[in-house]
Symmetry: C2
Subunit: 132 residues, 2 copies
Amino acid sequence: MTTTQERAEDPNLPYDVFSKACPSRGTLEHITGRWGALTLGALYEGSFRFNELRRRVDGVSEKMLSQTLHALERDGLVHREAQPTNPPRVDYELTPLGREVAQRLIGLIQFLEGRMDDVLDARRRYDEKRDA
Amino acid sequence: MTTTQERAEDPNLPYDVFSKACPSRGTLEHITGRWGALTLGALYEGSFRFNELRRRVDGVSEKMLSQTLHALERDGLVHREAQPTNPPRVDYELTPLGREVAQRLIGLIQFLEGRMDDVLDARRRYDEKRDA
DNA sequence: CGGGATCCGGCTTGATACTG
DNA sequence: CAGTATCAAGCCGGATCCCG
């Protein structure tokens, strides 16, 4: 594995998310973060306006959605299309790179949803053992 | 999409991570959280002891690793094998379910690492435009 | 409508110290 | 070694007000 020190010394090493200093870790956090994954997942289904997205991602605040979208746009995963009309209209959609990332995320999410009964069973067993 | 209200009313609906009330969202956060993804990724390579793991996941504190492992164990993704010796020896490894999750996570991580140059380019373009 | 700016409470996080 | 306990700091997230 690449250590923090090795990476700092040699910028030609491959990106290694396990290393604290690697920029890939920051992007991974944008993608897998609390709202990043859900936002990418929602956008996988099409193009949406700000408040549409907000309704789709149940529970996200305006601030967090805005922040999340900015981070994803900066990383080149989301494209922001603003029309200078009045009232303004802004649409968000995935870039090709964003689509690939979102697809993998969706795969993970759907796999997880399909196995939630196993997870819930495991939790019950764990909690019972702990109480005993 | 399943709304929070629909889920609350009908427990037989499929799990939907986009709904605030769905337990799958909590598990997704354990998996994709800041340390969850890296811990699962590290464990994909084998069985490790607590401090080995800590060194592999560069930057994680004792408390966070401990907390992360507990959550993943409770969700049935990680198995904890403790030997009552002195000094104590505890090994962590993925369960079969954990392996499947970790594999998808690794896929995402490796894809991302392979595209980091694109991400970094996108960031530069974004920042330049913003400064102008 | 689509946000940005600000304020603020609280949960999360990270050091540090301590224990079996 | 493998953690737990404690505490301070800070970031997250919600509420509110604002503008174009």
